[in-house]
Every structure is written in structure tokens, then in C-alpha cells.
């Protein structure tokens, strides 16, 4: 799997990322780093604990990272969740779906990058 294919698999825009970071080496470095980023775990944990402020910050961080890497699918879903969690807002109807979408997009990105990583290490 090439990096470009990986981007396609996770719903991102490879060209946009290249345009921004200017080198395949950098893009690859940060894409792989994504696997170790704890923000999604923090998001799940703080939602489970009912800490909505922390959850907001975690969602916000995911959004920022995805924006830089042009992981657009996860960017869009995490952006929607960020807004839902902003300023300690109480849960609105449909929030569950937003969370589920973020989780799905995250899993999709995670799996795609894992697969890409397997190819790199070989």
C-alpha cells in the first residue's frame, strides 16, 4: 500500500497534505505518528467519565491534527463533535451519532495507517 492509497482508504486528501507539508517524508512521518496520538483515547475516556470540557479539548486536538494532515473524513466528523461539545453545552439529540461517526472514522484511519505501516516495515 502506498501512502497515497492509504490516504484514499482513510478518506483523506493526499495532494492537499503534500501541498502543505511539501515532502512525502514529512507526510509519512506524521501519518505514522498518528497511531501513537492519544487524543482519541482521551476523547473516549473523558466522554465515559462525563468530563465534557476535556472531551472538547480532545476532539479539538483531533480536529487540528486531521486538518494539518488532510484527514478530511475524520476532520469533518471531529469538527462536528467539537462544536457539539463547545463551552460545556449539555448533550443534544444526535450527539451519540456524532460520537459514533468520529469513532468509525478514527477506526478507519487507524486501520488504513496500520496497513500502510505494515507495508513500510517490510
Amino acid at each position: 500500500m502506498t501512502l497515497k492509497e492509504c490516504y484514499a482508504a482513510l478518506g483523506g486528501d493526499y495532494d492537499e497534505a503534500m501541498g502543505r507539508l511539501r515532502s512525502e517524508r514529512l507526510v509519512q512521518k506524521f501519518v505514522l505518528k498518528f497511531l501513537n496520538d492519544g487524543s482519541h483515547q482521551l476523547l473516549c475516556d473523558s466522554l465515559a467519565a462525563g468530563d465534557r470540557d476535556e472531551a472538547f479539548r480532545a476532539a479539538h486536538t483531533i480536529k487540528g491534527v486531521c486538518a494539518n494532515l488532510a484527514f478530511n473524513a475524520l476532520l469533518n466528523s471531529s469538527e462536528a463533535l467539537t462544536e457539539a461539545l463547545r463551552d460545556g453545552r449539555p448533550p443534544q439529540p444526535g450527539e451519540e451519532e456524532l460520537i459514533a461517526r468520529v469513532n468509525a472514522d478514527y477506526d478507519r484511519a487507524y486501520r488504513a495507517i496500520q496497513e500502510f505501516q505494515a507495508g513500510v516495515s517490510e
Binding site: 502543505r20 496520538d37 479539538h60 486536538t61 487540528g64 494539518n68
Partner: protein
Amino acid sequence: MTSKQTILIIDDSEMNRAILADMLGNEFDIIEAENGVEGVAMLQKHGPEISLVLLDIVMPEMDGFGVLNLMNKYHWIEDIPVIMISAERGSTHIERAFDLGVIDFISRPFDALIVHRRVVNTILLYAKQKRLTAMVAEQIFEKEHRSSLMIDILSHIVEFRNGESGMHVRHVHTLTETILKVLLRRTEKYHLTQTDISVISTASALHDIGKIAIPEDVLNKPGKLTNEEFAIMKTHSMVGAEMLEALPFYQDEPLVKAAYQICRWHHERWDGRGYPDRLKGDEIPISAQIVALADVYDALTSERVYKPAFSHEQAVNMILNGECGTFNPLLMDCLRDCADVIQEELKGGNLEDRSHREIQNVALELHKHEELIASERTLELLEHERMKYSFFASLTKEIQFEYTVTPPSLVLSTWGAEKLNLPEVLMDPYQNQQARAIMDARDLDNLADMLHSTTPGNPVVTYDCKLRVEGEERWHRIIARAAWSSEEPPRYTGCIGKALDNHSSRLQMENLERQASHDTLTGLLNRAYAKKRIMERLEDRPGGHYALAILDLDYFKSANDTYGHMFGDQVLKFLAERMRHSIRGGDIAARVGGDEFLIFLEYKEDLESTIEGIYNRVNGGVYEDFKISVSMGVASTELVDADFETLFRCADEALYVVKNSGKGHYSYYHEVHTHVGEVSAVSPIDGESAAGKTAQKKGEQV
């Protein structure tokens, strides 16, 4: 110093920091902080070493706006540019960020090239601004210096013609400046600023330029002037003013305006009896009033061909007596106030001092312009100091610390942080359990109290206490200096100091003290120390009843001879142990030397039974084969003077009598006649037979 400039990245996402660091790492040194609190600590630690801050908004602990607020509060934002980077797109966020002084706002996702370019541009811009600031300051110094040089030369030309010392203009300048400063402190009535002071003192040099138009034979006439000549002389003030008024340029210059007032009116007097316009009171501009006073004062206190120099007091009195016309009473007060300063200034008022003063004035002015607060040079000096400090701190094995009240933070030297197992920068140390565990809460409170009670003039305190270091309680000496702000009243802003481990030296000291005060064989006090303690006791409560007993082990010499010295030592220890158990808590037991001991005690009424009890517990029985027999002489303050030497000598005499009359009992000392020291005159009462007879009166014949 490294030639690379330093960028601080404050962002809670490690990914984001890594991306930025990667983009900029080739050209810049990158330091990172993962939340606002850490960021502020970094800013505090590195200060102006940081060329730029890249700041995220949404962060735990303290967000980006919190950081900006603090940077504003401490004016860091004026020296350190901040670029905000955030995924926030709301215009309110962006607006707020710019309001708080950020130089640029980059939204995520960002383009590597754009970030790079903006960072470089900002750093260049700031560097240029700093250079410009320094250049402007230099030019102002230069300009100011040149113009006062010109004025000096000009006014000296006048003086030369006048045949004066050449110091008069300088003195008037110094006096004017000094009096103005005092006046500024005393009243706001005249709306004077630092600039006015500088302008008026400079202009004062021109007060006599009109004399250039006075014919030389009048100007330098050795004798008294005729009325006609005096009338000519008096024109110099108006002529000077007219010369200035006739200047084709610079009419709006404050210096020219001030010089005009001074020239024209420096011979006016408070009561309206001066010249040329007979102005009265505050009709006379304050600049002219002050120069007039300075002119007169310097004429009086300087030596002239026709008069000696008068002292400050004489001159003030002469002016007060109206010998030179009347002056504003407020200015007279100012003149009196600054007597010391004036004398100092006039003595050392050389050109160097003066330019130094002018530079100070300019510096004060510069301070008013916010954008000039920290010049490049100041920053370099700071950087130099910081380097010096951290170098020396790294050399010494000491726990060095710096505490700031706002924001509450503790900075430790590298070595100290390692030793205490704390981070080098600690925010809110009072809330930190690990930090609190190092020092007892009571000690911490005491130390804080001591520091708060210091004064800016005397800010250093020393405090000894135990610190828990590496799991062990050890004595430390803390030397700390409180930091007070320069405002009025001064505010406590924190402290710096160090903690020195003096554990072993302290224990050694305690040990030495013990050795110096105790007898090594028996562990009782030694004679010298017992004497000190007894004298203290006697002095503390001179009215009390005290007794001193000297004990002697009978037949001790034979014990030594028969069984050897080792055995003798054991017997002494045995007896000492008995003594220790025979006395009460406050009593003093000591080994006087050899086989002689003493006991000192305070008593209320029943001395007899106390002494008897002690004697019976100490005397009798055997140690191994050796029979313990004790002889004892007692002296009490009811019968002899209450000082150690007398008590000791009398008890010793009583003991001597016991020794000579069969040993193995005790006896009191009774003074029977005044020639103390003649043993035959002393009549001890045998302990057994004296039982029940308690109160023996002084001087009683037995």
C-alpha cells in the same frame, strides 16, 4: 550564546508541536511546552532569549488567552512576538487574540511555507525594531550631549568677559536642577515634568547672556557702581531676553522659551521690588524664580575678590534676612531641604557627572514611551547576568531557589532540583504535596514570616531547619533575600536564596559543645561549665535560696593504689551515677576534678532534709570490695554571699573540716568571724548532730 534564535511552541498536542518543530527546527532552536502553565514557566525562565512564541488556543491547565493575559501583565508581549496558531476559525477568537497583542494569527490547517515565512518575517521585524530603538536612544544621547556642550561654550564666553570663575554657570545649572527636583516632590502646583527640569536647567546657563551688551568698564568696574552705571548694568536682563526674541528660528523651542523667561526675569523678586518689570509672587515664571535664587545663592557661597565664600547656613540666613531681596518661601524651603545634596553636587559637579545626570533624565523620558521599555542593550545585559548566574549556580553544590509571588512559582537550580527530586520550575509550589513534604509547615511559615517582615534596606534572613532530602532529615541553613518592588509602599514580590546542608557541622558543633561542657569520664558537667550554669542561675533569681555541696570520696587514693586506676575510674563513675539519681530535676551535679564533685540546688525552706536525703543516697555501701564513704561540705546563700566563688570556697572549707574530723559525714559552713579562710575559725556542725536544727543564722556564734 548560540547563534540560532529560539522559538517556544506552546501546544497541548504532541503531534502539532512535532509538525511545527519539524518545519522550523533547521533554522531555530525549538523549546516546547504542553500547556499554558508550562509555557509561562518557560517564558519566565528563558525570558528575552525567546525570539518568538507559537501559541495554541485550546489547551488544558491554562489556555492561550491565559498565556496572553500574563504576557501582557508582565509586559513580556512588548519584547516577545506571539503568533497564534489554532483550528479555531471564529472571528471573535481572532479579534481577541489581536487585541491581546499577538502579531499574527495562522489557522489550521497551515501551510509549511507560510508558517515558515511568517515566523522568519516576524523575527526579522522585531530584531529590526530593537536595533532601531537602540539607535534612537543613542542619537538622543548624542544630540542632548552636543547641545549642552554648545550652551556651555556660549555661556562661558559671557563669563570670560565678565571675569567670573567659569564655575558660576555650572553651579547655577546644578542648583536649578536640584531645587527643581525637590520642588517637584513637594508640590504639583507648577505642573513640572522631567522634561521641564531638563529644559529649565539647561536654559539657566543663558541667564546672563545680556551682559554681552554691557560696556566692559561698567561690567568689570572694581568699585561700587554709581546709580547711572547700575541702571546700565540692570539692562542686561532685558537685553538677553531681546536677543533671544530676535532669533530668526526656534521661537517655539521650549528651551528658547525657558531661556527667554530666565533672562528677562531672573532679577525679579517675590515682593515685586526687582527689575525690569517689577513682577510679584507667582507672576514671575517659576523657572526665573529658581534661577534667581540659584544665582544669588552661588554668588554668596563662592569666593569673590571682594568677599570670602559663605557657608550654606550663612547664605540661607542672608537670603532669608532679605539681603538679596525676597524669594518664594516655598523655594526657600526647598533650598533648605537639599542643603546636603547641593554641597555634594557642587563639590563633584564636574562635566562627567552632569552628562551622566542628563542621560538619566533622558532615560527617564525614554521610560515613558512604552515601545522603548527594553532596549537591546538591556536585554543583552540581562542575558549576560542570566548566563553568569546559571554558570555559578551549576558550579556550586547548593540548593538555590527563587520564589515569585505572582504568578506563584518556584525556580530551582539544576543541582537543587535534582537533589530535591522536583522540577526546576514549579508553578503553585504551595499546592504541591511533594514540595510541601520537604520542609515542615511550621518552618515554612516562620521563614515566610521572617521574609515578609524584612525591609528593602535590610532584606536578608537566615533560618536553620531540617529539610527532607533524599528520604533523610538533615539540618540546613537557609539564607534568603526578600525581593521588594521599587514602588511606594514597597510590595513583597518574592525571594531568592539558597539552602546549605550544615547537618554534619551542626552535629559536630553539638558534640563539641557537649565535650566542652561535660566531664568525659562520668558524663556529669565539668567544673567550668557548672560554674557558668550556677552563675546564670544565681543571676536569674538573686532572691532565691541556694546551696552548694562539695563531695569527696574518702580513701580514694588507696582504691587507686590497691586496685589500679581503671578500678578508680569505675568507682568515680559509680558515684557519679548515684549522684545523678540523688538530685532533683533542676539541680546541678558536676565533677570538680579528681575525686571531688559538687551539687548545686535551690531550696525553699527545708534545706536540712534535702541535704540529708542526698547524702544518704550517695554515701554508704560498697562498690565491689571498696567501701563507699563520702565526706561533704555545704554552704548556703542564707549564710554566705550568693556568688559562686564564695559558695564554693565556703563549702570547700566545711569539707576540709569534715576531712580533718574523721570523714564519712557532712557539715555546714558557718561564718564565725570576718577572716574567712582561717580554717580554725570555721566551726562545722556534724551532720548527724545537726539534724533538726535547720535555721543557722549568719554570724551566729557556735
